[in-house]
């Protein structure tokens, strides 16, 4: 068991949360190529180390939050910025937003 720092509720047990996914930037659906879109849908960085992730606090504030977690030790720490929404956590839209590691933190 480890705990996740929720910006609204404080440090809470991981069992209250649902893991949503790695933080990634959604490409613009109007301009993205099929390759960019599928890379956004499927590809994972899957790092062994610090990873910026999106979690859903289902048994708490019911908000999508951004968290930084070490995937080997499961240590967590808050990230500086709150995520935008849903899957697209902690990223800023950039012209080449298809590259999922554009917003990597480690």
């Amino acid at each position: 068991m480890f705990r996740i720092p929720c910006p609204h509720c404080g440090l809470r047990n991981v069992s209250e949360f649902r893991h949503v996914g790695e933080a990634r930037t959604r490409p613009d659906p109007h301009t993205a190529t099929p390759e960019q879109w599928r890379a956004y849908l499927y590809e994972q960085r899957n790092v062994a180390g610090w990873s910026v992730e999106s979690w859903y606090h289902g048994s708490g504030c019911r908000q999508y939050i951004g968290v930084e977690r070490h995937t080997v030790t499961n240590e967590t720490r808050p990230i500086a910025r709150a995520p935008e929404s849903g899957h697209a956590a902690a990223g800023s839209a950039s012209p080449d937003a298809g590259a999922p590691d554009a917003d990597s933190a480690s």
Binding site: Y42, E43, N46, T71
Partner: protein, 421 residues
């Protein structure tokens, strides 16, 4: 003296003679210095990597092969799974593929001259609701079409096969039926690893333990070799047969995969008198149970609900597991859990593996095996060896290529791969 290509024969006579004379057994495989060049480098000395190397040498005569591993033979997923073998999948591609594996397992002990303790004791997948009963019927029909023995059986028939199971209607999740798969069963996973390693070694394959790959050299879109903690090796073909670290190894060659790594925990109880003959799986209760020859009950569950490379066991897992197992078999409530462990599972979006070529020429994949990699070891090795030797993707693995994610051809094995071991 042994002949090249045949491992030393184990026999009852040899056992008696060595027992009486206390002569040392020869090592099952040798140590080597790392050479500068190989025809093929296989990354990962688990069942997939060793089987690939063995079939390269045995079926295609390619013997200048190095199997490198950062740990020891069978120390990853190949030694951490619950050793269940079955072929009752949902898609025709899946059924054909895993059935070939069961067939290879059936004759593996004779092929390798190594007792792999394959016990085809029958495999039951329980249905607790109408939806899963319907999927079971679907699976049974697909299996029959592919010539695989599977049938849906009633709770009374389940009670005959598994006397300790609670098949009454007044439980939280009543059992409505089960998919019964007689050729399924369990195997000694370490013996499979050691048997392949020993047979591959006898054919001239070099197994390098404690040799971590730290880089993969790629020039002009073609793989040149690997850099390891013991030196540089050049090779025209590099096969990634890792589990757990598949994304990180592929990233070294610049290939990004649709994989997230989840831990999967398992546990065994203290040994008791043998009472459970079949393998019992419940997708609804997220649990599967079998009994070893020693009498321990082996339990597995679903993967942890978030990706991680941590192999620590957790109390939540044990608590949840115990609750689910007792739902099925209330009479084992006094049994104590002896130990628990975790292994890493590379989950793909469609619960199917990723096998074959990549955008980097010469860099091949046999990864993404999720929670079902061990049972596929022999067929995966056979198919990867054929791919390396002929340069053409064998039909049996064509559906599992990496390009399916770009082309939108996902395989959709979720109905039979999640939890159902």
């Amino acid at each position: 003296m042994k002949r090249r290509g045949r491992p030393t024969t184990y026999s009852a006579g040899g056992l008696v003679s060595r027992g009486l004379t206390h002569r040392e057994w020869p090592p099952a495989w040798r140590r080597h210095d790392l050479q500068a060049t190989y025809d093929v480098v296989v990354i990962g000395a688990g069942v997939h990597g060793l089987a690939t190397a063995y079939y390269l040498a045995a079926n295609h005569g390619i013997r200048k092969v190095a199997v490198v591993d950062k740990g020891y033979v069978g120390g990853g997923g190949s030694g951490r799974n619950t050793a269940i073998v079955r072929s009752n999948y949902l898609t025709p591609e899946g059924v054909r593929f895993y059935d070939r594996s069961v067939k290879l397992y059936e004759r593996l002990a004779a092929d390798l001259n190594f007792n792999v303790m394959f016990s085809q004791r029958g495999h039951l997948t329980l249905a607790h609701n109408d939806g899963s009963l319907r999927t079971m019927r679907w699976r049974a029909e697909v299996n029959k079409l592919e010539g695989v023995d599977s049938q849906v059986i009633s709770p009374d028939e389940i009670a005959e096969l598994v006397p300790f199971m609670d098949v009454s209607a007044d439980t939280r999740y009543p059992i409505l039926g089960a998919l019964y798969h007689p050729p399924g069963g369990t195997i000694r996973h370490d013996a499979v690893n050691w048997g392949y390693a020993r047979a591959a070694d006898a054919l001239g394959v070099e197994i390098h333990q404690n040799t971590e790959v730290v880089g993969i050299d790629v020039e002009d879109g073609r793989v040149q070799g690997v850099r390891t903690t013991r030196g540089h090796v050049s090779a025209p073909v590099v096969v990634n047969c890792t589990a757990g670290w598949a994304s990180l190894v592929s990233e070294l060659a610049g290939v990004r995969l649709p994989i997230s790594t989840h831990p999967l925990q398992a546990a065994v109880t203290e040994p008791v008198k043998v009472f459970l003959d079949t393998v019992v799986v419940s997708g609804t209760l997220h649990v599967y149970v079998s009994q070893t020859d020693r009498g321990e009950l082996v339990f597995g569950a679903s993967t942890d609900p978030y990706p991680s490379y941590s192999m620590r066991g957790s109390l939540e897992f044990t608590e949840e597991l115990a609750g689910h197992v007792l739902e099925l078999m209330p009479s084992i409530a006094k049994l104590r859990v002896l130990r628990q462990w975790a292994g890493l599972c590379d989950m793909t979006p469609d619960f199917s593996p990723i096998m074959g070529v990549t955008p980097v020429a010469g860099f091949l994949l046999d990864v993404g095996w999720g929670t079902y990699g061990f049972k596929a070891g022999p067929v995966a090795g056979e198919a990867m060896a054929e791919l390396v030797a002929t340069g053409r993707t064998p039909e049996i693995i064509a559906a599992f290529d990496l390009a399916r994610f770009q082309d939108g051809r996902l395989v959709g094995e979720k109905g039979a791969a999640a939890v159902g071991h």
